[in-house]
């Protein structure tokens, strides 16, 4: 089956622990693993346990479930374009 998700259709997000400490780091690791299971998602191949944040791309509609699942422990926000 071909990947139906074009890059232009993906949504970019920034994800980071709400607070420093093991709970946030552990949530980020679980988030990384969970996001990798989503078809079309682009998740950086970094050590989430020591990362300050993750920049991920998700297909439309995928963010809501992740936000509800990890929202308590992680800041989950659009990586919005900047203007000049």
């Amino acid at each position: 089956m071909t990947n139906q998700h074009k890059p232009s259709e993906q949504e970019h997000f920034l994800v980071a622990p709400r607070a420093p400490g093991p709970r946030g780091a552990e949530a980020l690791v679980r988030f990384q693993a969970r996001a990798r299971q989503i078809p079309g998602a682009t998740v950086p191949d970094v050590d989430a346990a020591s990362a300050k944040r993750l920049e991920v791309s998700l297909p439309p509609g995928a963010a809501a479930a992740l936000r509800s699942e990890f929202g308590d422990a992680l800041i989950f926000e659009p990586d919005a374009p900047l203007g000049y």
Partner: protein, 679 residues
Amino acid sequence: MADPKDKDASSGTAAGAARRAPGAQPAPDAAPQGGGSAAAENAVGTRETQYIIGPRVVPGSLTPLAAPAVLTNVLEKFRELPGYREMCRLKPRGVGLFAAGAGAAEIAVASTSPELGKELEAASRAGAPFVAERNRVLNHHGLAPAPAGGADATAAAALPGSFELGQISFDFSVVGADHQPLEGAQITLTGRRFTGEGVTDRNGKATVAVFGERPSTILSLYVKPLANHWERFIERPALNGSAINTIVLQPLSATFPNFPAQPMLGWGQEVMGLGQIPSHLTGQGVKIAIIDSGCDNTHPLLAHIKNGIDLTNQGNTSTWARDQIAHGTHCAGVIAGSASAGQGVRGFAPGAEVHIFKVFPGGRFSSLIDALDICIERQIDVVNCSLGSGEHSELVQNKIEEARQRGVACVVAAGNSSGPVQFPATLPTVLSVSALGQEQRFPTDSQHARTVVTELVGLNGVFPARFSCFGPQIRVSGPGVAIVSTVPGGGYAAWDGTSMAAPHVTGLAALVLAHHPAFHQPALRARTAARVDSLFQLLVAACAPMVADPARGGAGLPQATRALGALAAAPAQTAGAVAAGPAATAQFPQAPTDAALLQALAPVIAALAGGMPAGGALGALMGQTLANGGAGFGGPFAGFPGVGFPGAAGFAAQPGFGFGVPAGMPPQVLAQLRSLGLA
């Protein structure tokens, strides 16, 4: 090509096309006509305008102020005016009691030159016995069905009437004053429904197509040169679809003699008092970051900038100097353009160590966070953020707070959407900057002129720029209209934006950190939030209020002389370091009193309390700052020879109008009315 049926498409040969508004750039010299197979040329000016002219009636009735026969005489006299072309008369229908038309008077439909049209409108407003008003294009309000083809369906489907018009295109030639072709000029045609854009090739030529418009519905033509010339904005351009439409742009050197060979201060640096402080204060020892589109350090004024990182290219440490957008290079010139280059426009802090963080094109919140992380790591002192978003980011907010705690001060442009302040300028932890302009610093036929908010023009012709975002978050303002600075390729360009205003403040902030003795004391030398807060407080306290509304201008325009305290009392720059023109007469209004300054610095006092011995840095801060008193505010502007564009001679700018309005009845119309005994 243009619709040949469109009778309103001026060929450019009309008398009005060659005329120009006061202060406007001159129309091109006679362009070569004919000559073998070459296409005809059309020197683009403002096209003729249609008016309807009829009787003025007694208020509350249909009785004309003047007898119908007299009005007919007036209309006949108008036919003798140069630039007036009657197209038809609307005659009353019917007879007797059932006749239509007030008092059986006729209404003339006429096409006039822009100048005569304005005179007629002014006469009408002044109470002439006739009404002259624009014969405007009517719209119909039908709604088309939603496009069936999804996102790819043309938007024209929602705009009834567009299909039958099809596409029109115009050929352009953009040249300099001596008719040399100008490559890379952006041309924008704005119609009632759509816009069309093009960029000139190496021969200065471009073809611009617009869908669903007629030549008569093109609202404006905007030409933005790549470098070294003033832009041009022509309302209702007289375009010719079967000729090459020639746009002549005036060089910056026509305004600033011998520019850029002869160095000068930009008007922004001038009004902030950079010319009043010693030339050896250049920001040495301070690190400035510019988070933007890169910086072309092959420019003679920017060759001293050696540090940078390209966050659009995996952190490459060499490609940051490729600035495809030119925005970052322009900001860098304002902040740190080198005076030692012996040319161009000097920046505020050429002695500072500048670090370039390239995040455009394609910059996102993540790019900004990355850049700020590196700023913290490199112990940057001041960061210029001429960027923003309509969205909020908690993570960016946290990073900026972290930067503040580590002594990194963020100066942020408010945004250019004429609405609420944009993020991250909304944050209390940054210094948000709105944009000001000053009249007579730009040609009248430019986009710069359209940034003037006539009702808000203050003393000295300073005004809050129309595009600037506003709100309670605005802390200070900076010069942001017609700012001449560096662009890639070694040239200069005059640009507008809060993006241009913020670098002025960033540059001054660097000078304060480098040279104000208070920031050499241990308490404020330490990289803490107190250092950042004290810097912001000092800049705010050093402001001269320029506009009445603090939501638009914040505390005002920071003054170098006040911000640097007694240091600024030293002899100003020597002649030759920066050539200053003859002094102008304008002065800043409403200088803050010393009491107000003390009050503004109260948080600084609080921040420093306990950690500083009496008479230490606080004493230095207060003493040095207050020692200068208000001297800087009375200082003269240093004007540039030839900078002023002639105002509308004989016209008095009146609040409430968007342009200069004749004071009283125009002479040409007045003479005609007098000949008829009506005035």
